[in-house]
Symmetry: C2
Subunit: 557 residues, 2 copies
């Protein structure tokens, strides 16, 4: 049995584009005499259309597309993820389903049972869960078909313990192999964790596992692909590269339980390299799928964050599509301009300079009647990034370059950033990387990826500073980033208590101060830029914290 | 049986403050020899703590508070809404529950069955649904206790049809009355709809209904109170005023099925008056519950939107806590300043003037090297609101006045607003009011509420304009607001198709253009200010649309 895993990149809501892509892939598979062609979860509408799924007209469009795709099937059986209607009089309108089609007919329909409702997932908002588990017969064999979460059953999942195990139900029903259609977003830990989980399933149930994942980015979520086939002895027979549209072919002989690969499995990259790939795909897809522009503009401060963002942008889009602008104020160090220029030269991008000294002075003069008896403070500091934001957005508006946001996760966590200033932009490139990860990636770029100091070494060496007042350093008001990041990660990602963090050797008062900052700054993040998610818990739609809340108040005093 | 409905205003996460409020209310009820004292849904932790509910330490704090409250109960039985642990090995960690306590002991626990997952609700993300329905015996009578959504079973609910009817199950189990603990947010239609639903339940099951709702605002959601008692003949025996912390007492004689009121039910206000009350409460509670400041600043443009926001702010906070700033540019009409000053005088607030002509010129000079061969366009227009945003935020930062956002729903829908410019602020006061509702409320204020032109009549008369280029009017690029609002409401709130809207007499090309604008502007709203919700579908956390999506693309050409 020739099986092809089609690791495709659908766009949310683009039913015409996605079905054209699926049809072309079907035609290629027919040519290659593939027996079974498998597409990912929600291949027809992209993952996930969110509240578009509440619109009857949108659902009708999907159902019509399903019919056209089924009509299109010939000798090659096609298994594809899509939305199907719930014909029952109760429950939600639709299922998250897999349709098996051949010879222009629906052979089987399977609906997702486990609908995740944590982090970025709110699938019970849209889909009716299924609780029937029947194998699908195909060429005399029993296939166990699952959709994404179904196969993850209680494998290190947060906050919920499912009482149904779809894979086990299907095995009990006689499944000779498990198939899984996914739209699983990348996180730094995901490829390793995913492989571990799939191998465990193969071992546990002594069957091969065929896993097909979407690739491609939709706003915050970057599906990484990583489709793979694992045999019943836990051998990874085939594995698709991450972040690429591709197809993986295997020959499965169910009688002898042998799977042959046609190509060796892709070699796994290191986490930092994967993350670099994820961010590039995230940026490229955002621009391609919104069709707003090919070009981006980055404010270059001379610091490590904007330098890293510029490098990612150039690798993703090409130097000709990236413009840097450096905007020194009276508090900027000399390196702010010269280091930015050196970086731009290394990258082959233009670097414009706009000096904001005079316009800052103009603002302070306009405000003088109100501010005259006050001391220099946050108000004055924030004027500077807001002038820069205004200039960058003017450039962006005029030349249709999307402004890239350059803030990191550590800053965003504690609110060490200015609303409408450096918090501006169309997409946040590194808003899910802690400052220590920013350094890690920058060093890896200089030492390994480029084997050359693409980022000028002095940018890596200089102490982090917002440069908004004389001789400012981040450590004036913050601990060293290693300490800060460890506390932030424990609180935000592990969600553990103060006591647990203190047991790791951090000062309880410092922990409380940092946690209070995180909680108090929710109002800033509410208005934040969409962030490319690369961690298990990113700021954005997967972390829903109330803006108005007083829990932390209990330990604030 | 003396029953008291305690319409209280808890703060999310403030377990100490909320339990102090509950304990004081219990003490008062003991003094008044109340038999049964009823608090709203999630009275202990506020509605809704969102992802705080994923933190074990937060749940433990709630459980401890529950125990303290139970310990506190004496002769008066206390029924209160809170979170309780799910002791089962599967499912989510906790239930959304009601605890009945008396004499320091738990008499009964009831868990919510219907967990809404539409609009602002994602309760299946947090709570395990219950599917057992047992009446609670109290003084020889069978009480049917429900939590919020349980009693709404399929009464005009969007997107889901429940297959379980908790009220009916309880009636079948012998319930002599239905009790409902709610945290139900206000919308323009809600008070009428709520009463209709409760009366229908009383009629359908021939029992009295005791309904206790939270009052108070938490970020976007304004619970309106409106607690009421309806007897089995559908008579509204008692009804609490909206937007006030209060208590309602009734005597219920279950044997004779007679309920006596102690006070006449509150008189219902008109929808526009209710909405005005809701917005005031929303602002007051935001400031009180975040404890950031008592004062606000409003940019006054001379237009109707900022005028309305200033009036609401003055009514909510007092004139001494509101500051207006008018910032004319070279494109501003004369009335921009003089009308703002007249409004400020009427309201008794100060109105500062900052002329932005020169600083705008400075920006264009700074950008001249890049812009010199281009025509005046959006880039130049947007610089002006961004200068204003920077000045307002500087004032806000310096004097700790929260900036109020003054954008309306019509503008926000079609993106007729500038990110980091007029989209700035801590809270959006009228972002859920269509432009036509802004006029409706302004007229009602002038003609009825104040019976005097508190808003200068010329502000109501002048054609709407952003005043960002010479002789600009909103109708240059947009239809009249009545037409625009009708199309927007059909698309955003009713979620109906283009055909349905066209059948109402609107030009299909205009509909398509407007819908495309709405969909294309999702990226702006992603970064929007929290909006006080007063409609069935507000922009904000109850409307989750993908930023990157191409569905509308199908009809864009």
């Amino acid at each position: 049995m020739k099986i092809r895993l089609a690791q495709i990149n659908p766009t949310i809501g683009d039913l015409q584009g996605n079905s054209a892509l699926i049809e072309q892939t079907i035609a290629d598979a027919e040519n290659d005499t593939i027996d079974l062609l498998i597409f990912p979860e929600l291949a027809v509408c992209g993952y996930i259309p969110l509240d578009l799924l509440e619109r009857p007209a949108f659902l009708d469009d999907i159902y019509q597309t399903n019919e056209e795709l089924v009509d299109h099937s010939r000798d090659t059986a096609v298994l594809f993820g899509t939305v199907t209607p719930n014909e029952s009089e109760t429950g939600r309108s639709c299922f998250n389903s897999a349709i098996l089609a051949r010879d222009g007919k629906v052979q089987a329909e399977v609906h997702k049972a486990l609908l995740p409702t944590y982090d970025v997932y709110n699938e019970l908002r849209y889909f009716e869960p299924d609780n029937t588990f029947e194998c699908v017969e195909f060429e005399g064999h029993q296939l166990g078909i699952t959709v994404c979460e179904d196969i993850w059953h209680n494998f290190e999942l947060p906050y919920i313990t499912y009482d149904i195990n779809p894979t086990k139900e299907l095995i009990n029903g006689g499944a000779e192999a498990i198939f899984n259609l996914s739209a699983s977003p990348y996180t730094r830990n995901k490829p390793a964790k995913r492989k571990q989980m799939l191998c465990q399933r193969a071992r546990e149930f002594n069957v091969p596992v065929f896993y097909v994942n979407q690739v491609g980015s939709n706003t915050e979520l970057i599906s990484d692909g990583d489709s793979m086939v694992i045999d019943h002895t836990e051998d990874v027979i085939a594995r698709a590269p991450l972040f690429e549209e591709t197809a993986v072919d295997v020959h499965w002989n169910p009688k002898e339980d042998v799977i042959e690969q046609t190509e060796p499995p892709a070699e796994g990259a290191k986490p930092i390299e994967q993350m670099f790939g994820a961010l590039q795909l995230g940026l490229r897809d955002y621009l391609e799928k919104t069709q707003i522009t090919d070009k981006v503009v980055v404010g270059l401060s001379g610091g490590i964050d904007s330098a890293l963002v510029a490098v990612i942008a150039v690798e993703a889009l090409g130097a000709e599509n990236v413009v840097g602008i450096t905007m020194p104020s009276k508090f900027s160090s000399e390196g702010s301009v010269t280091d930015s220029q050196e970086l731009a030269q290394n990258l082959g991008i233009s670097c414009h300079e706009i000096v904001i000294k005079d316009i800052y002075k103009e603002f302070t003069q306009l405000l003088h009647p109100f501010f005259e008896d006050t001391e220099f403070g946050t108000a004055e500091e924030n004027i500077q990034p807001r002038i820069r934001g205004t200039l960058l957005m003017a450039y962006s508006n005029k030349f249709r370059h999307m402004l890239l946001n350059t803030g990191n996760k550590s800053e965003l966590a504690i609110g060490y950033c200015t609303l409408y200033g450096d918090m501006s932009g169309g997409l946040s490139m590194i808003g899910d990387l802690y400052k220590s990860e920013v350094y890690e990636m920058a060093r890896w770029l200089n030492n390994v990826y480029f084997d050359d100091n693409i980022i000028p070494p002095q940018i890596l060496r200089k102490p982090p500073s917002a440069e908004l007042r004389p001789d400012q350093a981040d450590t004036d008001s913050l601990p060293e980033y290693d300490t800060l990041d460890a506390i932030l990660k424990a609180y935000i990602e592990e969600q553990v208590s103060i006591d647990v963090i203190a047991d790791r050797g951090y000062d309880p008062d410092l922990i409380k101060r940092i946690i209070s900052l995180v909680d108090n700054m929710e109002y800033k993040r509410f208005q934040g830029v969409p962030i490319l998610k690369v961690s298990d818990k990113a700021f954005g739609s997967g972390r829903n914290m109330p803006v108005v809340q007083q829990w932390s108040h209990n330990f604030r005093d």
